[in-house]
Amino acid sequence: MEMIKANNLAFEYIRRDDDGNVEGITRALDGVSLTVEEGDFVAILGHNGSGKSTVAKEINAILSPTEGTLFVDGMDTRDADKIWNIRQSAGMVFQNPDNQIIASVVEEDVAFGPENLGVPTEDIWKRVEESLKAVGMLKFRFHSPNKLSGGQKQRIAIAGIMAMKPKCIVLDEPTAMLDPEGRKEVIRTLHELNKKEKVTVLLITHYMDEVVGADKVIVMDDGKIVMQGSPKQVFSRVEEMKAHALDVPQVTELAYELRKEGIPLPKDIITVEEFNAAIEKIYRQG
């Protein structure tokens, strides 16, 4: 089933002067059509200002389409009556963990979402326990969030969303402020939730290595979708990625450089293991 379906979606930010006259229009999204199937792990790449965060805000019905349509779990985001259902279906996690944590005890923070949905108390505690377990933070249940690392805080924020039992989680650069270990923790957690809990994940990021494990990668530039496919398909187009002000994993770039020197490496190398296996094979053949 389709979790997210955008059809020719467009969004314009309108700037106005002090008197309310239109000063300028920025077309942040321009004819975006995309489908995310239930259970998919989809990554969106794009440079700053390419429109990827606007897509996230559209999915969460924070913004309403200027043109086109967007359906989340079968609900039209233009339908004002559905806003809360949409936000429950598609939970959102933002960049800065400190802006998303509100309670002074971890379990209370996670309980905040379901509490606002009017979930019965007993059920709330059950959900809190399950979500903390799912992100591997159960033992911090009674801790103060202030004393946790960035990666741990971000996992608490994810648990808070999980407690609302969403079908889909949208994450807007959730690792931008974390150290390498924190980044790994968060990405590992997302893959586990995707596999075990069957949650659809839409990950917006700048880090190419976080994208390698995704089912599908979407590249945005100038408000449009410019590339999409499996990580291998997308990263094998090194020059195109660079033209969109993006990078490829270091091994992909290394393989690209070596191919230019005439070493017959496959184009779709995206991990160290693949790279080394290919080089060894060439070496053994002499």
């Binding site: 700053n48 650069e173 402020m177 974390l178 390498p180 270091q250 450089e257 070596l258």
Partner: protein, 290 residues
């Protein structure tokens, strides 16, 4: 031992304790010693909470060490007649997400705020302002733009220019590329490297990206649990990648490539920390077999 007088910065057995004599007492820095020569490009890495930010705030006197001394150009910065205010113009600190500190109505006014506060002659103020804007590679069309209208990468350049306008002799940047896209990241780091070379200033770069420090710095300091664990060239430090992993860090991806190939018996010598190095090493290994 090298003459300490010639050192720009000397950190001598510095320790710092947070919340001393409270329930939250914690040793953030534990007996740190190192020296910095003028014109070095130094990387500082360590996981969150390892003490990097605490350390750099010591270097311009924002935090006073619990124990130990810091010398700037041979003078103890804790001496009574030493002006910390002057030190802070010499040692410029760019905090994380510095664009949050932009507040003026135009780019020129924001960058010029520091020189204006130094009460320099008008002409000198303007000279420094426009020079700093140029150094970070912002186009002159943006002089009168509101800093708030700029992109994330541009805002950050304005903030860095604001510190450069103070003409620092040491520039410390705390994760200057966090949250930027790959192109914005490369542009900022390229400008910093250029400034470091052309102006001859010392740069200390705090980073979470091993790929970035490997590419730019000539000396790498690794912190863990308030202590300095490694202080060497990036290559020498990344050779200890297994120990780095235990500290929640890693080596650049290409280091794993060449180390892996070595283990499989390919004739690779030394260690690669950049794509260019790895490429040369692999090409020469493959040639040996022909």
């Amino acid at each position: 031992m090298e003459n300490l007088e010639n050192m720009q910065l000397v950190v001598d057995h510095v320790s710092y304790i947070y919340g001393e004599k409270t329930a939250y007492e914690r040793k953030a820095l534990d007996d740190i010693s190192f020296t910095v020569k003028k014109g070095q490009f130094i990387g500082l890495i360590g996981h969150t909470g390892s003490g990097k930010s605490t350390l750099i705030q010591h270097l311009n006197g924002l935090i006073h060490a619990s124990e130990g001394h810091i010398y700037y150009m041979g003078r103890d910065i804790y001496d009574e007649d030493f002006s910390l205010k002057e030190l802070r113009t010499k040692v410029g600190l760019v905090f994380q997400y510095p664009e949050h500190q932009l507040f003026e109505t135009t780019v020129v006014r924001d960058v010029g705020f520091g020189p204006k506060n130094l009460k320099l002659p008008q002409l000198e103020q303007q000279l420094r302002t426009f020079n700093a804007i140029k150094m970070v590679g912002l186009s002159d069309e943006l002089y009168d733009a509101s800093p708030y209208e700029l992109s994330g990468g541009q805002k950050r350049r304005v903030a860095i220019a604001g510190v450069l306008a103070m003409k620092p002799e040491v520039l410390i940047l705390d994760e200057p590329t966090a949250g930027l896209d790959p192109k914005g990241r490369d542009e900022i780091l390229d400008s910093i490297a250029k400034i470091q070379k052309e102006e001859g200033i010392t740069v200390i770069l705090v980073s979470h990206s091993m790929e970035d420090v490997a590419k730019y710095v000539d000396r790498l300091i690794v912190m863990d649990d308030g202590r300095i664990c490694f202080d060497d060239t990036p290559k020498a430090v990344f050779a200890h990648y297994k120990e780095l992993e235990k500290m929640g860090l890693a080596a650049p991806q290409v280091t794993y490539v060449t180390e892996g190939l070595k283990e499989s018996g390919l004739p690779i010598e030394g260690i690669a920390t950049t794509v260019v190095e790895a490429k040369e090493m692999i090409l020469s290994a493959l040639k040996q077999n022909r």
